[in-house]
Amino acid sequence: MDRQFWTYLGRRAVQSLIIIAIVIVGSFLLLHLVPGDMVDVLGGQRGDMDAELMAALREKYGLDRPVIVQLLEYVGNVLRGDLGYSYRNSNEVLNLVLQRLPVTILLVVCSVITAVFFGTMAGVFAARHSHRLADVVISMVVLVFYATPIFLTGLGLMIVFSVKLKLLPVGGLMTAGFSGSWLELIADVATHLILPVVSLSLFYIAIYCRLARASMLQVLEQDYIRTAYAKGLSTYNVIIGHALRNALLPVVTMVGLQIAELFGGALLTETIFSLPGVGRLAYDAVFERDYPLILGVLIVCAFIIILVNLIIDILYTLLDPRVEISR
C-alpha cells in the first residue's frame, strides 16, 4: 500500500460521491416530472378534499416553496438516510427497502458466483479444445443463452421443472408455514432459489464464457505459459495456476460493469418467482404509483452498485499489480 494507491482510492471516492449526487438530483427531477404531487395523490385517495385543505397540506409539507429549496432539502434528507415516506405502505421508504434487500442480495450474489464459476469453466474448457467439437457445441449453446431474455429463461424453466416435472417449487422464498431445524430451512430456501438463480445467471454465464475463452486463448499463447510447460508442470497446474489467474482479469472487470444490470434482472426474476426482494417491491410500487418508493429503490441500488464497483477496483489493483493506478 503505497501513497499512489491511497491517492487513487481518494480520487475514486470523490468520483463516487459525485455520481451519487447526480443520481440523487436526477431522482428529485424525476419525482417532479410526475404529474401531480403528493397532496394530489392523497386527495385522490380520500376524494373529499377541497382546494383550501390541499393548499394547507402543501404548506405543511413544504410543497409550496421554490423548487431549489425543495431540492436542497431532498438532498439533505437522502444523505441523512431519509428517503421519504410511502403512503401506500404506511412506512418509511428506507425501512421497506432494507427489509427486502437481503433477498435480492442473496439472489444477486448466488447468481454472480454461479455465472462466474460455470462461465469461466466453460470458457476455459472451450479454449483448451478450441475449434474442436466441444468448443463448437459450447459456443452454440452460449449463443442461445446470450439471446434469451431473462424472463423467458425464467418462464421456460418454470414450465419444465415446476409445472411439468414438479421437481422444484413454482415460487416464493420458502414453503409457506415452514417449520424445522435451521439446516432444513437452508435446504428449503436453497430449493426455492435454484430456478431464480439459474434463470438470472444463464445470460451472464454466456457472457463470461465468451470472455474467458477469448482471454484464455490469448494468455495460452504467451511465453510464460510455454516456460511453465517447459519446466515440467502438469497441464492442470499450468492452466489453473498460471493461465486462469490472468485470464480471469477481464471477467472481474465485466462483473463490476454488470452489477447494475443484475439488479435490473433481479426485478424480472423476483416478479416471475414471487421472491420478496427489492425488485418485486419496485414492481409493486410501479403499479401502486408509489413514486417515493420506486426512487428509493433506485437510489439504494445505485449506492450499492457504486460501493461494489469501488471494491472491485481495489481488488483489481491487488489482483493485477501491473494496473496503472496513477492515471
Partner: protein, 274 residues
C-alpha cells in the same frame, strides 16, 4: 466489406432470419387484414388444433400467429428507433467529451457514470411508469438507458483519432471544431459503434419485451411481450402462448448478434484466425 459479412456463415444466417422477420412485419396486414386484436376462434386453442389457425389462440380467442406477425412490427420499430436515438445522444456526448477533453469531458463522463450506475431495466421501468406507457415513452426510456456505452465507445475512439496528424493539420488550417469532428474525427472512429448498434437493437428488443411482459407495454399495440404477459396467468396449462412469441424474440436477437459478430469480423480481419 458487405461481401465479407454476407459470405460468413454467421452473417448469412443472421441476415436470412432478419429478412424473414422484416418480411413478417411488412406482410402482416396482408395475411391478417383483421388485425391482431380480432377474435377468431374459441380461447386457448392449441397450435394445429383447428385448420387455418396455425399457432392456436390466446386467452381471448385471438390468433397467436397474427399477434406474432404484428408483434414483429413493434419489436423492429422500437429496436431501430430507440437505437437510432441512443446512437445520436451517445455519439454526440462521446465526441464532445473525447474531442474537447478537460471540464466538458469530466462533467459528461460523470453523468454517463451516473446513468451506468442505475440498473438500466429498473430505470426504464421507472421512466415508462412515470411517463405512462406508450410507444414513444417506451422508445424514450430505452434510448435513455442505452446511450452510455455508445458514449464511452465513441469517446475512446475519438481520443485515439484526435491526436493523429490529419486532425492536427485540419486545426492548423483553421477548420472549425464542429467541422473537424463531423468530417474528420467521426468517420474514422465510428466502426466499433456500428458493431455495437446491432447488439443495441437486440438489447432494445429484449427491453421492450420485458416491459410489455411486466404490463408496461403500449396498451394500444400488440407486441411479443404483450402476448407473453397475456399468456402468463395460464402458464400451467397453455404454456405455448408464452413460448411462441418467446421463440421469435430469441430468433431475432440471435440473428442480430450473429450479424454483429459478422460485421465485427469483417471490420477486423486480423482477428479472424481465432
Amino acid at each position: 466489406m458487405l461481401r465479407r459479412v454476407v459470405l460468413s456463415p454467421a452473417g448469412m444466417i443472421g441476415l436470412v432470419v432478419l429478412a424473414i422477420i422484416v418480411g413478417m412485419a411488412i406482410s402482416a396486414p396482408y395475411f391478417f387484414p383483421k388485425g391482431p386484436w380480432a377474435l377468431v376462434a374459441r380461447p386457448y386453442l392449441w397450435p394445429g388444433q383447428k385448420p387455418g389457425i396455425l399457432l392456436g389462440t390466446d386467452a381471448l380467442g385471438r390468433d397467436i400467429l397474427a399477434a406474432v406477425f404484428y408483434g414483429s412490427r413493434i419489436s423492429l420499430l422500437v429496436g431501430v428507433v430507440a437505437t437510432t436515438c441512443a446512437l445520436l445522444v451517445g455519439i454526440t456526448v462521446g465526441a464532445i467529451s473525447g474531442y474537447f477533453g478537460s471540464a466538458a469531458d469530466a462533467i459528461l463522463m460523470r453523468i454517463t457514470d451516473a446513468f451506468q450506475t442505475i440498473p438500466g431495466f429498473l430505470f426504464a421501468v421507472v421512466l415508462v411508469s412515470i411517463l405512462s406507457p406508450s410507444i414513444s415513452t417506451i422508445i424514450f426510456a430505452i434510448a435513455m438507458v442505452s446511450w452510455p456505452p455508445v458514449a464511452r465507445l465513441t469517446r475512446a475512439e475519438v481520443l485515439r483519432v484526435r491526436e493523429s496528424e490529419f486532425v492536427q493539420s485540419c486545426k492548423v488550417i483553421g477548420m472549425s471544431a464542429p467541422r473537424i469532428i463531423l468530417t474528420q474525427v467521426l468517420p474514422n472512429s465510428l466502426s466499433p459503434v456500428i458493431v455495437a448498434a446491432a447488439v443495441l437493437v437486440a438489447m432494445a428488443i429484449i427491453t421492450e419485451a420485458g416491459l410489455a411482459f411486466l404490463g408496461l407495454g403500449d396498451p394500444n399495440v400488440m407486441s411479443w411481450g404483450t402476448l407473453i404477459n397475456v399468456g402468463r396467468p395460464s402458464i400451467r396449462t397453455t404454456w405455448f402462448i408464452c413460448i411462441i412469441p418467446g421463440v421469435f424474440i430469441i430468433l431475432t436477437v440471435l440473428a442480430l448478434n450473429l450479424l454483429g459478430d459478422a460485421i465485427n469480423d469483417a471490420l477486423n480481419p486480423h482477428l479472424r484466425r481465432r
